[in-house]
Amino acid sequence: MYGFVRMSCLGLCVAVTFPVFAAKQIDVAKNSNNAEIQKIIDDASAGDVIVFAVGTYDVNLQLKSSLTLRGAEAARTILKGVKNGQPALLIDGVTNVTVLRLTVVNAETGVTVRGGSSDVKISNNIFQLNSGGTGVSIEDSADAMVRNNTFHGNGTGVSRTTGTSRIEYNIFSGNRRAITVTNADGINYNCFAGNTDNGEAGAHAVTSSMQPGYANSGAGDPELRDFHLAENSLCIDLAGAPATDAIDGSTLDAGAYGGLDADPLPYPVQNLKWDVTPNNGTYDISLNWSANNSYLVTRAKDPGNYLIYYNSDTSGAPYANTDKVAAPTTSFIVHGVTGEVAVPGDPVISGVLPASQELTVSWSEVPGASAYRLYYVAPNVTEESVVVDNGTSYTLKGLRNDVEYSLEVAALSAKYYYLTVVVEASPELLAGREVFHSDFAQEQKAMIGEKVEGARSAAVTGTPERLQPYPQLANEGCFIATAAFGYYDAREIKPLRQFRDQYLLPYAPGRSFVAWYYRQGPVAARWLHRNAEFKPAVRVLLAPLIAVAWCVVNWPLFSLCFLVGVAMVGARVLPWRRYVQGVAS
C-alpha cells in the first residue's frame, strides 16, 4: 500500500512537471527585430529550439543555456550583424547551446564564445563577414565544436585563443587567414581553398589555391550566394573522414552542406523569365531560368529535376498544372494556352474631385476586370487615356485650369497565367530517403494575348480650377513678362527679377524706374492678357533683355568687360566712319 501511494505521488509529480520542461519549437517570424528576437530567447525554456523563418534579420543577440538556434534554410536565413563592436551572436558563460543552419554577414564577429561556455556546437552555418570580420571567435571555452561550416571571404575564419575546441569538417575559402590558434589540437579534416593564409591547417587537411567550387559564391550578387558544392568540388567526400552525410549517405562533405545536420534543401531557382508567343490561334509560354549548379542537381547520372508549376487566373499554390524537365535543361515551353476572356461590363463613374490642374476620378468596380482605361478630353484637344492597373480611382495631373474635361472609364480584362519553378534534388542521391525540393521561385504573371476592353461608362465632366488662397494677395512681379510668359515663376522671367533686385532697387534712379514701371506695367499687362495673340511677339522682344539681364546677373565681370569693349570699339569705329564719309563726300 505504501509503495502504491509512493508511486502514485511520483507519477503525479511527473505528470505535473513534464509540461513545464517539455522542449518546444519557437518560430521567429520574418522581419522580427533584434529586441523581439532577444525577448524570444530570454523567454525560452531549456531545450527549446528557436527556428528563424527564411529572411534577413539585423541582430546583436546574447544566447542563454540549453537552446538551439536554427535557420529554416541555411542559404536564405541571414543574420546581419550591426557593426557596434558586439558580435552577431554572443555565447557568454552558458552551456549546451547549438547554432545551426544560419548565414551570418556584415558583423565584426559572427559568433563569440567566451566566459567559460561549455558544450557549444556551431554547425552547418555560413560566415561571410568581409575582410575585417572574424567568423567564430573562441575566447574562453574548453569544448566548443565548430563543425561543417563554410567560412568565405572573412578576415579570419576561426580564432581560438584558449583551449582545444574542435574545428573540423569546415571549408575555408577566400579568407585573409583561415584559422588562428595557439595550438593544433582538435583541428581535423578541414578544406582550405583560395585563402591568403591558411594559418594552422591541422591534420587531414585538403588544401588548394583555387576556390573549392561552389554553386554560386555570390560574386555577382551577394544576395544570391549558394554555397552548395558543385560537381567535382575538392571538398566533396573528404578522404578518410570518419562520418557520413545526411544528404547522400556517402563519406562526409566539408562545409555547411555536409555532415548529419546539413540543410538538405536545394537553392531555389533564380532569374525566372517568361515570354508569350502566338501559335496557330493559341499561345506558347516560354520559361527560362538560371541553372542550379549544386551537385545535388547537376549529377551526370540521374540528375535532379526542375518542376514547373502553373495556374491560369489564380496566383499562388496549390498549382493545378505541373511539368518536369531534367537538369541541366533550364527552359520549358507551356504549349497551346488560350487567351480567351469574357468582355467585362462597363463601370460607372461615381465621383470627380477637382483641384488645381488635377481631377481625381472614382468609379465602380467591375467583376473580372484586371485594369481600367480612363479617357479624358477637353475642347480642341485630342482625347487621351491612361491605364489604371490598381484600384478604382485615379488622379489626372497636369490638366489646364478652368477647362472642362469629359471623362469616361472602360474596364479591361485579360487572361493571365501564374508560373513558378521548383528544384528537385537528384533521386539517386536520395534513394530510400525523402525527396528534397527547393522553395518556389518568384512567381511570374504572364499575360496571354491582348487585353479586352469593355464598353465605356457614361461621360462625366470635371473642371480643374485654381486654388484660391486666403487672403488673396496681389503679386507685384514683373507684370509684362509675367503676362507674356504666362506665370510668375517662369524660368525666363527670373533674370529680370534678379536684375531689378540687384541693380535697380539699390539705387535711387533704379527705384524711380521701378516705381514708374509698377504704375504703368499693370496697364500693359492687362492689354496683353486681352490680346493674347501678341504674347509670342512680346516674348521675342523680351528675349534680348532677358539675355543681357542673365549675363549681368550671372557673369557681372564678363558683362562689364564686354560693355567696356563694345564702348571702346564704338568709340574707335564711329570717328573712322565719319572720316570715311567725309573723304567720300
Partner: protein, 206 residues
C-alpha cells in the same frame, strides 16, 4: 520735418540733461504670437494665431527716449479653397516680414528702476509672400504703422552677481524681460494684413 525732429531732440537734451545715459545702444530678441486681423484666418490656417520671431536694435538719446529698427517673421501653413464647390484643397504658405522704424518712450526715472512701462510708435513696411503649391507665388509689400505698449522687468535686480558678470564680460549694463502687446496695421487695397502681436522679448542694453 527732419529739422523739427532734430530741434525737438536738442530741446529735450537741454531740458533733461540729467536723463542722458551712458548706455546708448540696446538690442532685443522677440518671440510671440501673431493674431491676424483677418476674420476667416482660423478656417484656412486651423488656428487663430501664428508664431512670430523678431529682432530689434535701438539707439537711446535719453533714458526715456530711443529710436530703433526691427524686423520680424511670421509664417503659417494652411489650405486654399476651390471656389466652384467651396471645398478646402491644396496647401498654402504665407510669410510676413514686417520691418519697422520706431520711436519709443520709456517711463524710466532711475537707473535701478525694476519695472519700466513703455510705449512706441513706428512706421512699418510689411513684406509678404504667399505660395500655393502648384501655382505661382504672390509677393509684395504694403506700408503700415505700429503701436507697441509693454512692461519691461529689470532682471539685474534679481541677481546682482550675474548682472555684474554680464557687465564685465559682455558690456551689457541692463537686461530686461519685456511683455508687450502691439498693434500692427498694414492694409492693401483689399486685405488687412495687420493684427495684434503678443510678445515676450529679452532686451539687452549696452
Amino acid at each position: 520735418m527732419k529739422r523739427k525732429i532734430l530741434l525737438t531732440l536738442l530741446l529735450l537734451h537741454a531740458v533733461f540733461p540729467c536723463a542722458a545715459v551712458a548706455a546708448q545702444w540696446s538690442s532685443e530678441l522677440q518671440y510671440g504670437r501673431y493674431y491676424p486681423e483677418l476674420d476667416q484666418w482660423r478656417d484656412y490656417y486651423g488656428r487663430d494665431r501664428a508664431p512670430y520671431f523678431g529682432a530689434a536694435m535701438a539707439y537711446r538719446w535719453f533714458s526715456f527716449l530711443e529710436l530703433g529698427v526691427e524686423a520680424g517673421r511670421m509664417h503659417d501653413r494652411g489650405r486654399a479653397i476651390l471656389a466652384s464647390n467651396n471645398t478646402y484643397a491644396g496647401s498654402v504658405e504665407l510669410e510676413l516680414y514686417p520691418v519697422s522704424a520706431q520711436l519709443q518712450v520709456n517711463a524710466r526715472f532711475a537707473a535701478g528702476q525694476w519695472l519700466v512701462p513703455y510705449v512706441a510708435i513706428g512706421a512699418t513696411q510689411l513684406y509678404y509672400r504667399q505660395i500655393v503649391v502648384g501655382q505661382e507665388k504672390a509677393s509684395g509689400r504694403v506700408t503700415g504703422r505700429l503701436l507697441r505698449t509693454g512692461l519691461a522687468f529689470n532682471m539685474n535686480i534679481l541677481d546682482h552677481r550675474a548682472a555684474a558678470y554680464m557687465r564685465s564680460g559682455y558690456g551689457i549694463t541692463h537686461t530686461f524681460l519685456q511683455l508687450e502687446r502691439r498693434q500692427l496695421t498694414a492694409d492693401t487695397d483689399t486685405v488687412a494684413l495687420g493684427g495684434e502681436v503678443a510678445l515676450m522679448s529679452l532686451r539687452f542694453e549696452f
